[in-house]
């Protein structure tokens, strides 16, 4: 693959010094204890490279995961580390420049999906994906996010959805789906035990997932609702690196759940939505959440296990693509497998599966950043190869964003497989 021409985007009309100051100020806020441990610990062994789909696909050294946070590390050593005074006094580490931040924009946004596979390969167990997430805060503060990702996040903040799925559009969609599929689509009930949240990708591209969620909830006999106050769970604030927007988007969901007295919030088939609410929601709001949070695959697994959801078995073989944020980084690796087992499917694992699964290439906001398409497609070849090798009759995942990556890869390569939805599969097989 030819290396793309260097390109970086800028937002706002600030001066260079102001951009660098913005980045440094955010970096300094993020140099907490855990980040400090990791930033002190890298031994430059390079093992993380072999875990990264972008490096494996291209063999380009710059895609080595730990290299992607080099300016963040440089800033830490100069400004916050235990020997920062010496680094500054002797100028052993130079101050981070605007040029470096611009150069690293591609590495932090285009070539990292924050899938976290590198942590498993690192002898020091450094959470590089977590550091990339922190470094993005500084990039956003500097007005140095990829324009398309920035625009999606901005739209999500202003309109409630990165894809134009505004409350009005949502209402119209739900009415149409209820009518078309003869299933109640509860919107804005005053009280419900379960708040069902969605991803804009589902609303706009995979509306059958909404129908499937409704069918499953009705089948299991839950009192449930979708809320127009907070329905979009894909947190583009988090993906773009804007902490304030991340908090706003989280708060919308939490307020919606509290307003209808929900005991449980079910997150959609979206990996980063799980990360944003399940593992970061309480932290960004600074208070514990007064309800349980489950990814839809966990919800299905729990309800299949206790018999509340009953399914008709299906004789087929299936390969499952693990969404990184739900499985490897979310701890719910076994949930979809329990559901597939309940469906009687023969699970054919890929060569790297479960916690070691390769990312689809579109996570972390990469799919919302079209300039990364060529690189993403290259990395997608790993997925095609591994899934083809299973010989499974069908392929399923539990993330609409992953499905979008697969659909795009399928179209790009003319690949003969279609990535399905675990939720839709369950809804089709309800007994």
């Amino acid at each position: 693959m030819n290396a793309p021409a260097a390109r970086w985007d800028k937002q706002g009309a600030r001066g260079d010094a102001e951009r660098v100051a913005g980045a440094m100020s955010a970096f300094m806020r993020d140099f907490g204890r855990t980040a400090a441990i990791y930033l002190e610990s890298c031994i430059h062994c390079g093992h993380c490279a072999e875990a990264c789909h972008f490096y494996v696909a291209t063999r380009e050294a710059k895609y080595t995961p730990i290299w992607k946070i080099e300016p963040f590390k440089q800033a830490y050593q100069r400004e916050a580390g235990p020997f920062s005074w010496a680094y500054r006094m002797l100028n052993l580490k130079r101050a981070v420049t605007l040029g470096e931040l611009e150069e690293w924009q591609e590495l932090l946004y285009d070539s990292c999906t924050m899938c976290g596979r590198c942590t498993l390969a690192c002898p020091m167990a450094i959470d590089i994906a977590g550091l990339v997430g922190l470094a993005r805060h500084g990039m956003f503060e500097a007005g140095l996010a990829p324009q398309d990702l920035w625009a999606a996040a901005d739209r999500a903040e202003r309109e409630g959805s990165p894809l134009g799925a505004t409350p009005k559009v949502l209402r119209e969609r739900l009415e149409w789906l209820a009518d078309e599929h003869d299933v109640p689509m509860h919107l804005d009930l005053e009280q419900a035990d379960v708040l069902v949240t969605l991803s804009s990708v589902e609303i706009m591209k995979y509306p059958l997932s909404l129908v499937a969620a409704a069918k499953v909830m009705e089948h299991a006999g839950y009192s449930w609702t979708i809320s127009s106050r907070g329905y979009e769970a894909t947190n583009f604030g988090m993906l773009s690196g804007n902490v304030a927007w991340q908090r706003d988007m989280t708060r919308k969901l939490v307020d919606a759940a509290i307003a209808c007295a929900a005991k449980l919030v079910v997150l959609p088939e979206c990996g980063h939505a799980y990360s944003a609410l399940r593992w970061q929601g309480a932290e960004v709001l600074g208070r514990a959440l007064p309800f349980r949070v489950l990814h839809i695959s966990e919800f299905l697994a729990e309800n299949v296990a206790d018999g509340r959801i009953r399914v008709k078995p299906l004789e087929a073989s299936v390969a499952f693509h693990d969404p990184c944020q739900v499985s490897r980084r979310g701890g719910a690796t076994q949930a979809p497998r329990a559901v597939l087992a309940a469906l009687g499917l023969e699970l054919r694992e890929t060569e790297d599966s479960g916690d070691f699964n390769f990312c689809c290439g579109g996570g972390g906001g990469v799919i919302a950043n079209p300039r990364a398409d060529a690189l993403r497609h290259k990395a997608f070849e790993i997925k095609m190869r591994q899934l083809d090798a299973t010989g499974a009759g069908m392929t399923v995942t539990s993330c609409a964003n992953c499905r979008l990556s697969f659909d795009d890869g399928q179209a790009h390569y003319g690949w003969g497989r279609k990535m399905g939805s675990l939720l839709e599969l369950v809804a089709e097989r309800l007994a």
Partner: protein, 224 residues
């Protein structure tokens, strides 16, 4: 004061003090940073066990990464084990530690020592070659990597120049070649003084870093 007396006296005291205080400073410098309050409902509260598991499991590659990283990892083990044997299994070194601390233990057979020396030299040379040859390692490497390599191999090189007596002997307090012994000691002291400020601090950071990930990820029930 001759060079040997200097190396055995003030230089050794200084190096040990820098090693201890520098290491403490680095650890405290990390721990003083603010810690995030974890408020999400944990999937598991056995974070101590998670930390211990990660410390153990990252000792070796998961099978998914083994094929591509095997040679580098085997080599790293070779020179780490080799260095440990040379440092703590050789009679003159045990005698040196005994004079400092009063602690002693039996030396390893001479052939193991010789094998360890060979393994360490070959391993360190291979590591350097790989660092220079691999585009990934070349990109990641900085002054610390090369300086740490030199500081690690110096005691080995200076030590080789001293191997004049049978391997199992304790070596006299007043050696025949005091300058060579002094240089060997000074090389060790340089290593001790350099360690806290360099990547060699992974000697203790490895437990902190793996432990932090193990604890945080086990809280989520996630793989570490």
């Amino acid at each position: 004061m001759d060079l040997l007396a200097f190396a055995r006296g003030p230089a050794l005291t200084f190096a040990l003090a820098v090693f201890a205080l520098g290491s403490l400073w680095r650890i405290l410098g990390i721990l003083r940073r603010p810690a995030r309050r974890e408020l999400s409902e944990p999937r598991s509260t056995a974070t101590g066990a998670g930390a211990a598991r990660a410390i153990a499991s990252h000792m070796w590659h998961a099978k998914n990464f083994r094929r591509r990283s095997l040679a580098r990892s085997l080599n790293a083990y070779a020179y780490h084990i080799g260095l440990a044997i040379v440092a703590f299994g050789f009679m003159p070194h045990i005698a040196f530690i005994e004079r400092l601390t009063g602690l002693s233990w039996p030396a390893l057979p001479g052939w193991i020592f010789v094998a360890a020396v060979a393994l360490t030299f070959v391993g360190l040379l291979y590591a350097l070659m790989e660092r220079l040859a691999s585009p990934v390692l070349r990109l990641l490497s900085n002054f610390d990597d090369y300086a740490s390599w030199v500081v690690t191999i110096l005691p080995m090189v200076t030590g080789m120049a001293l191997l004049t007596l049978p391997l199992a002997s304790r070596y006299p307090i007043a050696p025949d070649r005091p300058v060579a012994v002094a240089l060997h000691l000074l090389a060790l002291e340089l290593l001790l003084a350099w360690l806290p400020f360099s990547k060699l601090a992974h000697a203790f950071l490895v437990f902190i870093s793996r432990g932090a990930t193990g604890a945080a990820f086990s809280r989520k029930g996630a793989a570490a």
